[in-house]
Amino acid sequence: MSAALLFAVGGLTSVGIYLITARSLSQIILGFSLLGHATVLGLLVAGGAAGDAPIAGTAAVADMSNPLPQALALTAIVISFGLTVFLLALAVRQQHLTGDDQVEDDLEDQRIAQGQPAENLPEETTEEITQSIEGGIP
């Protein structure tokens, strides 16, 4: 196993975890991008040593790097790409609703923790509700 790659995995993981525990959704997204890199590199490390590209005919089979983790990694990259983009969309919506991208604490949890009656919860406005009923896809 290559210590250099392992270093990259560990470093990316650490920074990723640090970022996802932030309150700003932008930073969380950054964190997941980094974690995504870390997992992909982790898969490669797990698959064995570096080698030539696994394209038949261009190199000896014995010299090739293991193609299976690459395939798995590719799938993982694409999936984490999709989810990162989705998080972005959530952040954009949050920004639209509150003006920033901070992750807020759950209101009902706080209400229960403080023992307040249910009336103190802010009701969603009718406008917001109609808006969400009107939603859909183009």
Binding site: S2, F7, A8, Y18, A50, I55, T75, R93, E127
Partner: protein, 760 residues
Amino acid sequence: MLWLLFGAHLVGIAAAVLAGRRSMQAGLCAAALAPAATAIWAATRLVEGGDVVSAELVWVDGLDVAISFRADAVALLMTLLVSGVGALVMGYACGYFSSDAKGGSRFGATMLGFSASMLGLVWADSIWTLFIFWEMTSVTSFLLVGHKHTDAAVRLAARRALVITATGGLVLLAGLILLAQNTGSPNLTKLAPISGTEAAVAAALVLIGAATKSAQVPFHVWLPGAMAAPTPVSAYLHSAAMVKAGILLIAVVGPAFGDVAAWKWLGICFGFASVIWGGVGALRHRDAKLILAWGTVSQLGLMFTLFSAGAPKAIFAGVALLFSHALFKAALFLVVGEVDVRTGTRDITQLGGLARSMPLAFVVALLAGASMVGLPPLLGFTAKEAAIEAVLKLSGGTQAVVGVAIIGGSVLTVAYTIRLLYGIFGPGPATSVAPQGYVRRRSWLMAAPAVTLSLAGVVGYAVIGGVNEIVVPAATELNAKAGVYELIAWPGVKTAFVISVLIVITGAVVGVLWIARGSNRIPLSLGADATDGIVDGVISKSPRLIAWIQHGSLPVYLAVMGTVAVLAAAALASDFAGGHLIWWDHPLQAMLAAAVVIAALAAAFVGSRLGAALALGSVGFGVTGLFLVHGAPDLALTQLLVETVVVVGFVLGLGHLARRFPPVTGSWRSVRIMVAAAGGLAVTAALVAAGTNPTGQPPTPDLVAEAVAEGGGKNVVNVILTDLRALDTLGEVVVLATVAIGILALARVRTRPQAQTQES
């Protein structure tokens, strides 16, 4: 036959629902049919005798759970009580409720549902059948107690009853599992005696379960509260039926615990405490129904004591008491209910002089009360004699404790009965009887069942031989040696009789003195308040506890998760051995790795959004380089394109936000750093450890060969993606499609109202 009768109850429920829509009375009449038929059947069986009828329906064979019924002598006796009293009470309820009472179909159906559950319980031949119906009686009784649920106090009482009986049910479940596993068979007639620690634990659990159901101190607190139910419910559930379930339980499983000392002593303790405390409670209350309820606690305590003592004579006396108690207690409840609806109160300090205005009720109450006290010529007398004789047959400590319980309990019974009857019917300010309109017209409906039940005490005494034919086989069924005894109408002046006379005299003196003292202070309902306090406490304290875990803060959740993962990885990394490590596959790898980590750190610690996005891009390009070095051009290409789109998206979507991230400081930041560092280390170490001694090798040569031969492509990675593992790819693109839909939907919600405002 058993199925037929049981099925009749189920059909009856449907009928009661339908008929109950028209009126309360129709629903109740429909409900009364099945129990009436069952009672008649049981009576004929008892008279005619014959083979024991049984029936079985296997439910879950793997767990030995079956609905197995067996109508032996005990079951028939109980059937007679459950169904007979049930039918009478339902008839009584026709008079009790006004025609326009709400919830007609509900009440009739629930009563019948309870009746059916109770029937299943008394017929049960298997531990599991018994438990199944045991739980069903808990649920149906909850519904019945809460019949007038718009009243908050009623809801509270129903909750209390449910909490105690259902918790008891859970305890019982554990005890029964333990019992079944130790005896090897859930069959109640084949319970082998067990011993040892597990047996003692099982004994305690089963006894606690039984004590909750039979309202034994300290679990009795639900019973007085349950008097919030309509009186027919109290007359049925709390005299003849449900509260007897616990007694029946300890009677039938008793043989298995014969060798367990804990069984006997714990049971006697429950019984003793209940006898005394229940009697004291009955002496102090003013509400006639509550006096009866506390009296029930006391009387059930007597039975509990006798059955726990376990000697043949004691068991015989217990069965006799069980039988007579159901009759006189139900009759008394019915009378109190009638008094209640005709005068509008049940408070004995306000009542008085009803002997003249309600003579029939007075006679009924007198007969039933005399039976309760144990005066001849009534059935109660013979049962009490049997109990005292049973005490005389005991020896040692058991005799002392049981003796005190029975004598003390009987004295108290005499005292509170006198006080009750005196309070309602005795001289004093005559309560005006102003019946509500419907009562007068149908008062015979209320009178007839009460008369029947109280006359049963007289008739039973008269034909004591007939009663013996019911009681003796039942006692034999429970204990083979108990069959030699029988109830004796007139024992002559023997020790037991003398004791009996002394009891009545002492009790009468206590009762008269008590009345004279005019002590009508309501005792503290310690238990009930405590129970509600515990339940409310759990409900009101749980938010505090939960808030500690469920505080709603995402970063903390993530940190917790990270920490847990680190712990798991630490287990993995415990086999850490770095022998297979090399510094790098290629020097370039080391440089790129360093660059990637530095860029990542920059992304984390640079304050501006744009800077972070750029740093993210750099990380992506560095990783692309690492892929190339590793020999993964496909990954590199994809990574490059993905990185571009992500960075563009990041800028596109969040470009409007403040330029800088909000600053982070304080201890939370140190926690984050610690979790993050530990996470990185743990993952790395775990990877190294996992790769130390691989137990299998990747089939790279096979993959390459197959890709070319079968997959028709030279790029092995691509062949894997589109052929070998195309299913993964399929899933992956569906994920992308779904994400796209999600983004579009969110965009739509956002833009729609704006478009509307524009138009307006």
